[in-house]
């Protein structure tokens, strides 16, 4: 597929490029349970792609397949046009895929700054001996990456808590720090697992703004799972709808909203 040929410009002026990640016929089983049944969809460069569905639909499993936690029994994952072999999560991270978790996975014992600095791991190359000496290469590298991290900190407006241990922060801020850690890695693809779960309306608005800004300013491709329909419809360019491990809808928010199968899945349907 030619990446540039089918790129287009959205109403608000962002350029959506070619296919960044292509999931083809993914099937994932846990014993006898089929969590994901033969699903295919793609994520285009620069877009915000949402995965929605009722509880237990297999959304998080899908995200875990993308980030390498689960290896699907069937199907192929293409990233930047190349077939991705089975990988460990840390290898996936090195390809430029960063993620956040539904129930925050920060390093509680470390400060906010250190947490975000861990996001730069794959950009820091100084080896054991250079770090032991510190002066010179290791220090220079640390300072360069610190400058990058500070830009992310400014962007997400968490300057004031830089040196606070993460364990002491309230929930909403922890979510933001986790986003910062993922962003610090300069990901090609950012996966957000329910970035707004458990937040109040104001926090949701803040988070939505950050997600849009990330996409707009850094051009980061984002795939997110979210329950709040209003948020999903406003944020995303295209939506995948899942139910019981099957894909029941795929398209723009408006297309999905009017899809009869999607309405059935969400509102229930009479069995007769």
């Amino acid at each position: 597929m030619n990446a540039t040929a089918d790129s287009y410009v959205t109403e608000d002026g962002r350029t959506i490029g070619g296919v960044l990640m292509d999931m083809r016929n993914i099937t994932l089983r846990f014993g006898g349970v089929e969590a994901i049944k033969n699903i295919s969809f793609d994520i285009r460069e620069g877009e915000i792609r949402a995965i929605i569905g009722p509880n237990g639909a297999g959304k998080s499993s899908m995200l875990n397949v993308i980030s390498g936690f689960y290896n699907p029994q069937e199907g192929e994952v293409f990233f930047r046009g190349e077939r991705r072999p089975q990988m460990k999560p840390y290898q996936v991270a090195r390809m430029g895929i960063a993620r956040t978790f539904q129930n925050i996975a920060l390093f509680e014992g470390m400060t906010v700054l250190d947490n975000i600095m861990t996001g730069r791991l794959n950009h820091m190359k100084a080896g054991l001996f250079r770090q032991a000496i510190w002066k010179g290469a290791a220090e220079r590298e640390e300072i360069e990456n610190r400058a990058h991290v500070e830009r992310v900190i400014d962007f997400l407006e968490i300057q004031a808590i830089r040196k606070t241990p993460v364990g002491r922060l309230p929930y909403g801020l922890k979510k933001r720090v986790e986003l910062a850690r993922a962003l610090a890695a300069d990901p090609k693809l950012l996966l957000l697992d329910e970035p707004m779960a458990g937040m109040n309306v104001e926090e949701k608005e803040d988070m939505s703004r950050f997600i849009l800004d990330v996409n707009d300013q850094f051009g980061t491709t984002i795939a997110l799972i979210e329950h709040d329909m209003g948020v999903v419809m406003d944020l995303s360019d295209r939506v995948v709808v899942m139910d019981y491990g099957r894909k029941i809808g795929d398209g723009s928010p408006d297309e999905v909203r009017t899809n009869q199968e999607v309405i059935d899945a969400y509102l229930g349907v009479a069995h007769d």
Partner: protein, 358 residues
């Protein structure tokens, strides 16, 4: 007030990253170094060297090593005594096999050999965690002690089964053997401690340290940001064992001079160093020093107070010592898992606002 962060502004990331961000702390660091290098060597005598300073410095190296593994990387180890034994026997074999090579080279090589052994015994850490890993390292402890007792090659087939350090010189001054002067013992340990502490600090404040702490705090999240858990854990075992090996080599060659493995490097040693790390503070280089100082000075101080001052029988005092250490361990584990170092940090935080906390 001298001890204040207020008004001490940083204008570059390098300044913000320094080990002692507070000016007063920096001055104190240089002051302690100056006293350690320029004053103590001229005043030290055999009693002070053997009772306090040399064991303190050597245990500080071991505690830094264990702290890297347990405090920073979160892997509990009860094999410290065994790894110190590896350092000691490696040093002995090197000293007797290559007598013309400088002892400092031997000590560093012993650290390297221990690092390799430690990494090998660290392999189970990829599969098992917590208490189960502690038991696996316990196996290392008993296996290594058994090995050094059983295989006569390690102690050069000597009749007693002991190893004893031949006399070796650094710059014409004896640092091992029976004719070593107190200040020479002290100086060689001090140099090693200084370098080890700086290396430990540099490693733990950079990428490698953050990798270790990430593994400690949440290994799944660490993997998702790109940490290879195999590499990170084995590196922690290797670096930790390197320091412990150096401590073992110095303990044998400089401090004791002659060693019987079961006695000097038994399971008690593993626990002693672990206690130092717990009391001093997990995840802190300063804590390693504090813990080592505390547990080295405590028996001496108790003996001074109990036996010499109050006239109690010696066995009573030594039992009392066990009670105190046990109570302290419980206290720190329950109330302050980050140990003396955290108490110190809290005091600093309080001082930042003192005398107007609101």
């Amino acid at each position: 007030m001298l001890y204040r962060e207020a008004g001490d502004f940083k204008t570059s990331y390098a300044e913000d990253n320094q080990t002692f961000p507070i000016k007063f702390d920096r001055w104190r660091y240089w002051f302690v170094l100056a006293v350690a290098y320029l004053v103590i060597p001229f005043m030290i005598n055999d009693y002070w060297a053997n009772a306090i300073f040399v064991p303190f410095l050597i245990y500080a190296i071991a505690a830094i090593g264990l702290n890297i593994l347990t405090g920073y990387c979160g892997q509990v180890s009860l094999g410290t005594g065994g790894f110190m034994a590896v350092g000691a026997y490696a040093c002995y074999k090197l000293m007797t096999a290559f007598p013309e090579v400088n002892i400092i080279v031997h000590v560093i090589l012993s650290g390297g050999i221990t690092a390799a052994v430690g990494a090998a015994f660290g392999l189970p850490s990829l599969r098992i965690k917590g208490f189960y890993l502690a038991v696996a390292t316990l196996a290392a402890q008993f296996f290594l002690v058994w090995l050094f007792n059983k295989v006569a090659w390690f102690y050069n087939y000597s009749a007693s089964g002991q190893i004893s350090a031949p006399e070796r010189f650094v710059g014409g001054v004896a640092v091992t053997g029976p004719n070593t002067e107190a200040w020479a013992k002290y100086m060689i340990c001090l140099v090693f401690v200084t370098i080890c502490a700086i290396i430990a600090r540099n490693l733990t404040r950079g990428t490698i340290g953050r990798t270790w702490m990430a593994i400690r705090d949440m290994d799944i999240a660490a993997e998702i940001i790109g940490v290879n858990p195999l590499k990170a854990k084995l590196l922690a075992f290797a670096v930790s064992s390197f320091f412990i090996g150096i401590a073992g080599a110095l303990f044998f060659a400089v401090y004791l001079g002659a060693v019987e493995v079961g006695e000097a490097f038994g399971i008690q040693k593993s626990f002693l160093v672990l206690f130092m790390v717990i009391i001093g503070g997990l995840g802190s280089v300063f804590g390693s020093f504090a813990g080592a100082a505390f547990l080295v000075v405590l028996p001496v101080a108790l003996k001074l107070i109990g036996v010499d001052l109050l006239g109690w029988p010696t066995d009573l005092v030594s039992h009392f010592q066990l009670v105190i250490i046990g109570a302290l361990i419980m206290f720190f584990l329950i109330k302050e898992p980050h140990g003396l170092a955290q108490l110190w940090r809290l005091a600093k935080e309080k001082l930042r606002l003192w005398p107007f906390p609101y």
